[in-house]
């Protein structure tokens, strides 16, 4: 374990650009695997933020697109190994969905920023290694182009949209309350 903790040396840390990766982890295997990586102090870069879902099959393509649009440099979906799914075969559905999403992302040139991994509750070391590896890969790809080119435009659009949506929501909420 000591060799693991020493994997990132203090002087190396903090240098250079750190990607922003969103990891969807299933509650039963991968989230627990990430917990085990923590308990075992398997160090990995602070590039990743974990979002817990009950099953990897909960992750909709829309979530991935949303994350990429918001500027995620990488999106990881981690679930139980095939055959180990807490919900029998949710991960098989996830596999189909993520692979299809990946195909769609090819056209946008963002497909390499999406990754699907099976990480069990006992694979703390593997979890840290997947994160390290993915982070390295994303570093090679560089920043999500959305951040520079598209996001300012999106943000402006969104602000306008939100303003109108808010006024709509307020109206409908008033209606619902009024109906009671």
């Amino acid at each position: 374990m000591s060799t693991e903790t020493a994997a990132i040396k203090p002087e190396q840390a903090g240098n250079g650009w750190e990607p922003n990766i969103l990891a969807f982890c299933c509650n039963w295997c991968s989230y627990a695997g990430a917990d085990l990586a923590g308990v075992s102090r398997f160090q990995y870069p602070p590039s990743v933020k974990i979002l817990r879902v009950m099953c990897s099959s909960r992750v909709e393509p829309a979530f991935i697109l949303k994350a990429l649009r918001e500027g995620a440099d990488g999106v990881l979906i981690a679930g139980c190994h095939i055959g180990d799914c807490h919900y029998i075969d949710g991960n098989k559905n996830a596999e189909v969905r993520i692979n299809n999403t990946k195909k769609a992302l090819v056209k946008l040139g963002l497909d390499k920023r999406l990754r699907l991994e099976w990480i069990s509750a006992s694979e703390g070391l593997r979890f840290s290694e997947v994160i390290k590896d993915f982070t390295e890969e994303i570093k090679k790809l560089g920043q999500n182009p959305v951040n520079e080119k598209i996001k300012p435009q999106i943000n402006a659009d969104e602000r306008r949209f939100n303003a109108s949506a808010n006024s709509l929501a307020n109206k409908s909420a008033a209606n619902v309350q009024g109906s009671e």
């Binding site: 840390a13 919900y87 006992s122």
Partner: protein, 676 residues
């Protein structure tokens, strides 16, 4: 989005009205950052995190505690809920997998719905893994908590549901751990089905000669227990049977058990073994670790329970001699595999272990040279009911060995096989050396070990006794094992690491202390019960320290070596522990399950039925009258597969709704903007 869910789903419409009202309430969030001693506080600047989080919209109060889970930490949460009239609580601490229930109960005491808690993991997923990057860890903690705060504002109240528990139990595996579970549950008055794949109950312990550290005869202490199990009115033994399918959930598991045909009527058979006497077929006797032979029709061993013969059809030559010899006419060659469907509330998995097989890798020459055997084979040689009637002889010439070498850690503590310590092999070797010394004091024994591990009561004393009676201990692992082609003696080259010299030793017999490895069929049980398997192939418990016999599946428990190497007292304790844990459910007759399920918004549902084949639990029914999908809450496990598949967004997963997850996704990245 805030529309009522119609009567189609099981959702009570009143619940949803309250959701509507609550959703329009001002969100008053309290954020509680835990330092976890120095676990978080030593890396993450919790004060800076709290100050930043305090600037977020809706956050009314932030608090930093040394230990939020402590009494004073929880009291702080409750006081702040009262003081600031909080309606959402965010706890940023360790893992929800261990501490979510604690804080849910804490806020529920204050009248808040328990699902108004949002748990952010800034220890396992932040401070512990970024120990050298304090600043980045602090920034990451801010992001993680911001995600949690934004999600918390969108959380909706849910009710955990109760499910009835059938007060019957299934125990898989009738080794000493499984038998203990069955006996304890039966003694508490519950009906127990005890399924064992072998023709007799008893498990591995029935094969041991003596058991350490007191060296009592194994079958003499196990036999009465086996009889006790058979006599108990509440236990139904299903021997020579296997679990083939498990469906359902805590409180109501539907289990299909396959009964392999014994090819004889167990009611008529008396276990007299007359059939064995006349059977002309001899095959290696698995009970004796393949030493000696048994017949094609045989009684498993003299103390077998049930004491009934079994016909091994694979080796039967169909001579029908047994049918003629059987006085009670029990033999039935046309017997078919049969099945029983069980309905139980809890399942205890005590599927046991097997010993490491050194044959494929020829560890230390096993399988290449005659006079190298495993500790289990040695055990059977020592046993009075074994193939040699208790005479320890070596395989090449059936002579009694004088110089006997023992090698420890075969298939354990070895990165080429299993890295873990099997725990019991040191004591097995020490015991075997003692027993041989007692039988024949003239023998000379040398135990080659890496470390001797004798942690429990009476173990160290047993180790000392071995030294006192002249067993030699040599610290070192053999580097070369060869056979003398003439004498068939085993020549071992080993470094004595204490003396710092190479020794060349010659033995008449070499015994390998093989470690504990997962049993065959463990993968099948793992998949049937939906358990997790660790990297070492053994099953995982819910928590290694605090829930050692629970699993992540409610109502399923593990006893014995299925979840790691154990000695007999430990396995028996776990058997009892499982019975105790199971009794909580069986006695209460109800279990609390998470309120997280899929919910259909009927106004949005277009009746496309995409979701229906998606559900692994067949929980979505199609209501043809109104052309809408309908989730049966009792069957829904809340995975969200269907939700992600729904093309119109009519399906939502409670507590993991689209807007809740999107709020989190959105807040992963906008550090500067949100701060502004």
């Amino acid at each position: 989005m805030f529309k009522e869910v119609s009567d189609m789903s099981d959702n009570k419409s009143t619940e949803n009205k309250s959701t509507v009202v609550k959703d329009n309430e001002e969100k008053r969030v309290g954020v509680f950052v835990c330092e976890c001693g120095v676990n978080i506080g030593g890396v993450v600047n919790t004060r800076a995190v709290a100050d930043y989080i305090g600037t977020l919209q809706g956050v009314k109060v932030t608090s930093v505690n040394k230990f939020t889970c402590s009494d004073s930490g929880q009291a702080d949460i409750q006081a702040k809920i009262k003081e600031h009239n909080l309606n959402r609580v965010v706890v940023a601490a360790c893992s929800p997998k261990t501490h979510e229930p604690t804080f849910r109960a804490c806020i529920e005491e204050m009248g808040l719905n328990q699902y108004f808690l949002e748990f952010v993991n800034i220890r396992d997923h932040c401070s512990w893994i970024h120990m050298w990057e304090k600043e980045k860890a602090t920034e990451k903690a801010k992001d993680l908590i911001r995600m949690g705060v934004e999600r918390s504002k969108l959380l909706e109240p849910l009710q955990a549901s109760e499910v009835p528990v059938i007060d019957k139990a299934l125990v898989i595996g009738a080794g000493v751990a499984g038998m203990q579970s069955a006996l304890d549950l039966a003694d508490m008055g519950f009906q127990v089905y005890l399924v064992e794949k072998e023709p007799s109950i008893g498990g591995r312990m029935a094969r041991f000669d003596k058991v350490f550290p007191t060296n009592d005869c194994s079958i003499c202490i196990l036999g009465p227990k086996m009889v006790e199990v058979a006599r108990n009115k509440n236990i139904k033994i299903m021997s020579y049977s296997e679990v083939k399918a498990v469906e359902g959930y805590v409180g109501n598991f539907n289990v299909k058990v396959e009964h392999k045909p014994r090819y004889l009527d167990v009611v008529k058979c008396t276990g007299c073994a007359k059939c064995s006497e006349v059977c002309p077929v001899e095959v290696p006797y698995d009970f004796n670790e393949g030493l000696g032979t048994r017949k094609a029709i045989y009684v498993p061993f003299p103390q077998a329970v049930p004491l009934r013969a079994v016909l091994d059809k694979d080796n039967c030559i169909n001579c029908k001699a047994c049918a003629k010899a059987c006085a009670s006419g029990a033999i039935n060659y046309d017997m078919q595999t049969s099945y029983t469907d069980l309905n139980v509330g809890v399942i205890i998995g005590a599927v046991g272990f097997k010993t490491y097989d050194p044959e494929p890798r020829h560890d230390f020459g096993y399988g290449l040279y005659d006079n190298i055997i495993t500790a289990m084979e040695f055990e059977r040689l020592l046993n009075a009911a074994g193939p040699t009637g208790g005479h320890v002889v070596r395989p090449s010439d059936c002579k009694e060995p004088i110089r006997v070498g023992f090698v420890n850690c075969v298939g354990s503590r070895d990165k080429n096989t299993n890295i873990y310590c099997s725990g019991v092999c040191c004591m097995v070797t020490i015991k075997n050396a003692q027993l041989l010394k007692e039988k024949r004091p003239e023998t000379d024994q040398t135990i080659m070990y890496i470390d001797i591990r004798t942690p429990f009561r009476g173990y160290e004393e047993s180790y000392n006794r071995s030294r006192n009676i002249g067993v030699k201990f040599l610290r070192g692992r053999p580097v070369e094992v060869k056979e003398d082609p003439v004498t068939k003696n085993i020549k071992v080259r080993v470094e004595d690491t204490l003396a710092g010299e190479i020794r060349n030793l010659e033995f008449d017999l070499l015994v390998l202390a093989t470690g504990i490895v997962p049993n065959e069929g463990i993968s099948q049980i793992q998949q049937l019960l939906k358990l997790s398997k660790a990297a070492d192939g053994l099953l995982m418990e819910a928590h290694p320290k605090l829930k050692p016999v629970d699993t992540t599946i409610d109502g399923v428990f593990l006893a014995g070596c299925a979840s790691g190497p154990k000695d007999i007292p430990y396995a028996v304790s776990q058997g009892s522990a499982c019975a105790g844990r199971a009794t909580i459910l069986l006695k209460n007759k109800k279990a609390i399950t998470e309120g997280i399920t899929a919910v259909v918004e009927p106004d949005v549902c277009v009746g496309c039925q995409v979701c229906i084949p998606m559900c692994p639990f067949q929980a979505i029914k199609f209501d043809e009258k109104v052309n809408k999908a309908n989730v049966v809450k009792a069957l829904c496990k809340g995975c969200g597969t269907c939700v992600a598949a729904c093309p119109t967004g009519a399906l939502e997963q409670s507590h993991f709704k689209n807007n809740q997850l999107l709020a989190q996704i959105k807040n992963v990245f906008r550090f500067e903007e949100v701060a502004a």
